[in-house]
């Protein structure tokens, strides 16, 4: 327990931890000390001088952002001298800041605007000419307007310290100092846009959002990113049913302000012109639109006939759809269609993982654990590419708590910059690499092991045995891809009890019906059965949909409610942000089909299905309020033995700029992919 000191702020006696920063102590006690450059996640700058406060017995005003509190300190944050200083600083700041608030993207949510409103300096004594520089575009998503920049260096720190990229720096000197991109006139970076959102003013603006709307004209819908398994909260700004931006400036969710390029910008697939907006029937002339009722009845008839005839079904579920949808689909297959042939593209060996963890209820690491644990071991994955948020957590842990990072990978990874040990191995040699760190790991206090698809089957059991042998608390993250792989697994979209795997279904020459929900299994594989009736639910006419007899236009994750489970097993809620005409959610489609077939599979409202999940799925009896209020509820690992499953497991090998088949339909991702740059050494494409 840290030593406590007593101090006095604005006449109030306050207790605080010795050495805590005055600005934080004040804020924790409801006393706002204004600041631009101070940001609790990043290094101190003391550059903006907005946080000046008066401390008795010190001759000059002191900056609250770097002054540690001490016993007996008497502080005034609202005295006349302080107010005058603040006003003076704002007045200085406004001398070169253009007053183009009416057309500035930040207008209405600008920290400078707020401060001038609160502390004055609205009327100007400045009659000189302002320094002007033209706006620049640094990347498809990042624009920079130098005169608006107040040089708080938040963007530089977010890029350098937060992202570990270091693509932003400071050029020139004095009043013509400006933020500069790493390639002279453009950026070569993660394109994450963190710099834009952390900018207190409108100096950095986003290529997709700029000049689209005013902030107060938007609804803000907090939902979960649909691109990778990390499950970042993204707050979608919606204007008249159109998503115009994504960010997480309210810092809700597991990811705080973090988002990668996909979470921040790649919502644009929603509006892609190729979105399916009507059910379609394959005819001699190709796919032709039909009505929903016709499509549903055609499918129900075919499904019903096949059930009656004892025909063979194959169901391929999705790792993008919600838990409720996955749950309902699994139930539909087993109870409604009487088939065990249900599967999805599995990207991590969760079956072996849970089996190996049997009897170890505390061994699933949460995303928060990655930030708090003393040591992290990354095995066989380029996290910065494939799990940007997990990678961010590890960097933050290193930055704030000096975490010990170990990386056992086949190539250089960003974690090398933090690692106390970087072990390079041939693919397949990961376990040996891990073993080489045994002595160091044994000396750690606790550990989280994060591993990719290279560790599966026997190797995975050995890895857990290795963890057991260290004699310290060890938790694990079994990496999977896509936004709800974990959910698909947990909800039983699996060929259990002798069902056919995805590959087996595709290879079965006697397959009667192939039902594909939000997946693209025929992208790189052929369907063996010539007679199979193929039904596909998707957003786009994918390779698989092109072969379908009937295609149903599905709603995307940004258009529906429900829950998803991230790579760490945390359940979070989706909230519908937009609506695309003609589409239905997969859950609604299942419900309509069940109804048409006369099946009683229960009510198909997301909340009702989730209740059933909570009652029946192991580990999902999570507290409702947490989920309902937008929190992340940890699930428990399955704790008995888990039977092995047929079929293969392979990572999607997405990069920062790809997202399975979806990225094809994101203009933003395609635009930044054109210049993935040296940073990704050809891996970008």
């Amino acid at each position: 327990m840290a030593e406590l000191v007593k101090l006095n702020i604005n006449g109030r006696e306050i207790q605080a931890e010795k050495g805590a920063l005055l600005i934080e102590v004040a804020r924790q006690n409801g006393i706002e000390v204004p600041a631009f450059c101070y940001h609790e996640d990043y290094t101190l700058q003391a550059a903006c001088r907005m946080c000046l406060v008066e401390i008795e017995k010190t001759p000059k005003l002191q900056v609250g952002c770097t002054t540690p509190v001490a016993e007996g300190m008497v502080v005034h944050t609202e005295s006349d001298v302080v107010k005058k200083a603040r006003k003076g600083t704002l007045e200085f700041l406004l001398t070169n800041h253009p007053l183009d608030c009416p057309v500035c993207d930040k207008g209405g949510e600008c920290e400078l605007q707020d401060m001038v409103f609160r502390y004055g300096a609205g009327e100007s004594r400045f009659v000189e000419r302002k320094h002007h520089v033209d706006e620049k575009q640094w990347s498809p998503v990042v624009f920079f307007d130098a005169p608006r920049c107040i040089l708080c260096y938040r963007c530089v720190r977010a890029c350098n310290e937060g992202m570990g990229v270091g693509a932003l720096g400071i050029g020139n000197r004095g009043v013509i100092s400006e933020i500069v991109p790493n390639q002279g006139d453009h950026l070569e970076c993660d394109e994450c846009g963190a710099c834009i959102d952390i900018c207190p003013v409108g100096a950095l603006t986003s290529g997709s959002y700029r000049y689209q709307t005013r902030p107060w004209e938007m609804d803000h819908v907090g939902t979960i990113c649909t691109h990778c398994a990390d499950g970042c909260k993204t707050t979608l700004g919606v204007r008249v049913d159109k998503i115009v931006r994504g960010n997480n400036r309210d810092r809700s969710g597991i990811n705080n302000e973090f988002l990668c390029v996909k979470g921040r910008y790649a919502f644009d697939f929603v509006e892609h012109p190729e979105r399916l907006q009507s059910p379609m029937l394959k005819t001699a002339k190709g796919h032709e639109p039909i009505s929903w009722s016709k499509a549903i009845s055609l499918i129900a008839n075919k499904f019903g006939e096949t059930v009656l005839a004892g025909g063979k079904f194959g169901v391929v579920g999705s790792n993008h759809t919600t838990n409720e949808e996955n749950f309902f689909l699994a139930k539909f297959a087993r109870e409604g269609l009487g088939t065990k042939n249900i599967d999805h593209h599995r990207t991590g060996d969760l079956a072996t993982f849970f089996d190996a963890l049997s009897g170890k209820p505390d061994s699933l690491a949460s995303s928060g654990d990655l930030y708090n644990v003393k040591a992290v071991l990354v095995v066989g994955s380029d996290l910065a590419q494939q799990h940007p948020f997990l990678s961010f957590q590890i960097r933050a842990n290193f930055r704030h708590h000096n975490a010990h990072v170990y990386a056992v990978t086949s190539g250089p990874v960003r974690e090398d910059n933090q690692a106390i040990a970087s072990v390079r191995v041939q693919k397949g040699g990961e376990l040996a690499g891990v073993e080489s760190q045994r002595d160091k790991l044994k000396a750690e206090v606790n550990l989280v092991i994060v591993f990719g698809d290279a560790i599966q089957g026997d190797a995975l059991r050995k890895l857990v045995a290795f963890g057991d042998s260290l004699g310290i608390p060890v938790k694990y993250v079994c990496l999977v891809d896509y936004s709800n792989s974990r959910g698909a697994f947990d909800m039983g979209v699996l060929p259990r009890d002798g069902g056919l795997s995805r590959e087996q279904v595709l290879a079965a020459a006697d397959l009667d019906v192939l039902w594909v929900v939000g997946a693209n299994p025929l992208k790189n594989a052929a369907l063996a059965s010539k007679k199979a009736f193929v039904v596909v639910q998707d957003l786009f006419l994918s390779e698989t949909a092109q072969q379908a007899d009937i295609v149903l236009p599905a709603a995307s994750a940004y258009e529906k409610s429900g829950t998803v489970t991230n790579v760490c097993g945390e359940v979070q809620k989706l909230k519908a942000a937009a609506k695309v005409m003609g589409t239905k959610t997969d859950l609604e489609i299942f419900g309509l089909l069940a109804k048409e077939m006369g099946l009683n599979l229960g009510i198909w409202l997301p909340d009702k299905v989730f209740e059933e999940i909570r009652k029946t799925v192991h580990g999902y009896n999570v507290p409702l309020p947490i989920v309902a209020t937008g929190g992340a509820a940890p699930t428990m690992p399955l704790n008995g033995r888990v039977a092995a499953l047929p079929g293969s497991i392979a990572s999607a090998n997405d990069t920062l700029f790809t997202s399975g088949s979806l990225s094809k339909y994101s203009n933003v991702l395609n635009a930044v992919m054109e210049s993935p740059g040296k940073l990704y050494g050809g891996e970008g494409k």
Partner: protein, 430 residues
């Protein structure tokens, strides 16, 4: 035939640091050794670190870089027993307008400074030093490099300094044009290969300086004063000056005087005597208008304020500073608006840009002064100049902001009539 110096010495000087300047070959180790060189080091080698520091404290030597911090006290802050190695850094950035003395100390007597550095090394148990020299002084870097090479070759640097078995390495490091790099922490960032942005204090350089190591940083002249102090005793050095203002210092007299030059004068030397007698008075019999007492950062003095002894305490008492020793003399013909503008142009150009009040304040002030000088001043600008300067004062990240504000405040307050005259001129012009 005596060698050609920058300026002829004055008989009124007290030559301690500059006593070898006029000697032929004064920059060589041989001449240095023949003229008291390295006696102090050998003496210090026999002393304890505490005793060395006590001697420096006894000398009442105060830093010659500008801030005037007591040198002995500064040395005592360096954690001698820290497990981290200690580093010595010499501030030879000499960029304060009006200052041109460190140049002479390196050009004419580099070994005196080296010996001072070595003694400091003994005092804080450091074994490596860097001389940070401003980039414009390339010729001086070359001279310093030559002196260092000579010292190495003759065993006065390296693994066996003066045969004592004690080790010390010394290197030069070039700046590249930035006044702010004279500020000690900005200098350290620059030394580390970065932009010269000042650092937050604490930690002070003594605890965590260059590369995070405990660092002793002093001005060229400060180090150069060490050998005489150790050789003849701190008390003797102190006695040359006034209480708490020990010794002599190199005063750079420039501006409107007949014999501008760098002169070594004891602390407490009368300012008027320096102007009239040492520097030969004001040309053309014109009258004195003002004096910048210690570099452009110091509040300016009116003629009537100049009848004072030049020491730190007296200047502090009248609201100015002795600064870096750059004394600029202004005669009655000087246009103070033009002078203030030139000063502000300098600070605006040199502001590192890190903090808002300095970056924007110097720019705004420069623009107002420029407009004023071009004849478009307004009456309210006069008070605005003062107010804006005061809005900078004490609120900037480092002392550059103060350095810009202080002279401006003093000029506007003390020479308001010069500004009024501009207003009148404009009326006529309209």
């Amino acid at each position: 035939m005596a060698k050609q110096l920058f300026n002829q010495p004055s008989p009124l000087e007290t030559m301690v640091l500059s006593k070898r300047f006029a000697l032929e070959g004064s920059e060589t180790l041989d001449v240095y050794l023949k003229n008291d060189g390295f006696k102090a080091f050998l003496k210090a080698k026999e002393m304890t670190p505490e005793a060395i520091i006590d001697e420096v404290k006894a000398s009442a030597l105060r830093g010659r870089g500008g801030a005037g911090f007591p040198t002995g006290l500064k040395w005592s802050f360096v954690p001698r027993t820290s497990p981290k190695p200690r580093v010595i850094v010499v501030n030879a950035d000499e960029s304060e307008p009006g200052t041109c003395k460190d140049r002479l100390l390196i050009e004419y007597d580099p070994h005196q400074m080296i010996e001072g550095i070595l003694i400091a090394g003994l005092a804080v148990d450091a074994h490596v030093g860097y001389v940070y020299i401003r980039g414009e002084y390339r010729y001086l870097i070359e001279k310093m490099d030559r002196a260092i090479a000579e010292a190495y070759s003759k065993g006065y640097l390296g693994n066996n300094v003066a045969g004592t078995g004690w080790k010390f390495d010394l290197y030069t490091h070039s700046g590249a044009g930035a006044y702010e790099c004279g500020e000690e922490t900005a200098l350290l960032d620059s030394l580390e290969g970065k932009r010269g942005i000042p650092r937050m204090k604490p930690p002070f350089p003594a605890v965590a300086g260059a590369w995070g190591l405990p660092t002793l940083l002093n001005n060229v002249e400060t180090f150069s004063a060490i050998p005489p102090i150790i050789r003849d005793g701190g008390a003797a050095f102190a006695a040359l000056g006034t209480p708490k203002n020990g010794g002599t210092r190199l005063v750079c007299i420039s501006g409107h005087v007949n014999k501008p030059g760098v002169y070594e004068l004891p602390l407490g030397f009368p300012m008027m005597k320096a102007i009239d007698e040492v520097a030969g008075g004001i040309p053309g019999g014109r009258k004195l208008k003002a004096v910048v007492p210690g570099g452009s950062s110091c509040p300016i003095l009116t003629a009537s304020e100049c009848d004072i002894p030049m020491d730190y305490d007296t200047l502090a008492k009248i609201g100015s500073m002795l600064g870096s020793g750059g004394m600029v003399v202004l005669d009655e013909t000087t246009d103070m608006v033009r002078f203030a503008l030139r000063i502000m142009r300098f600070y605006q150009h040199e502001s590192c840009g890190w903090c808002i009040p300095c970056r924007e304040g110097t720019t705004w002030l420069r623009k107002i002064l420029q407009r004023f000088y071009e004849g478009h001043g307004r009456r309210e600008d006069i008070s605005l100049l003062g107010e804006l300067s005061k809005n900078m004062l004490g609120r900037t990240f480092c002392a550059l902001g103060d350095a810009a504000a202080m002279p401006t405040i003093s000029i506007v307050e003390k020479f308001t009539e010069d500004f009024e005259r501009y207003l009148a001129r404009e009326t006529v012009a309209v």
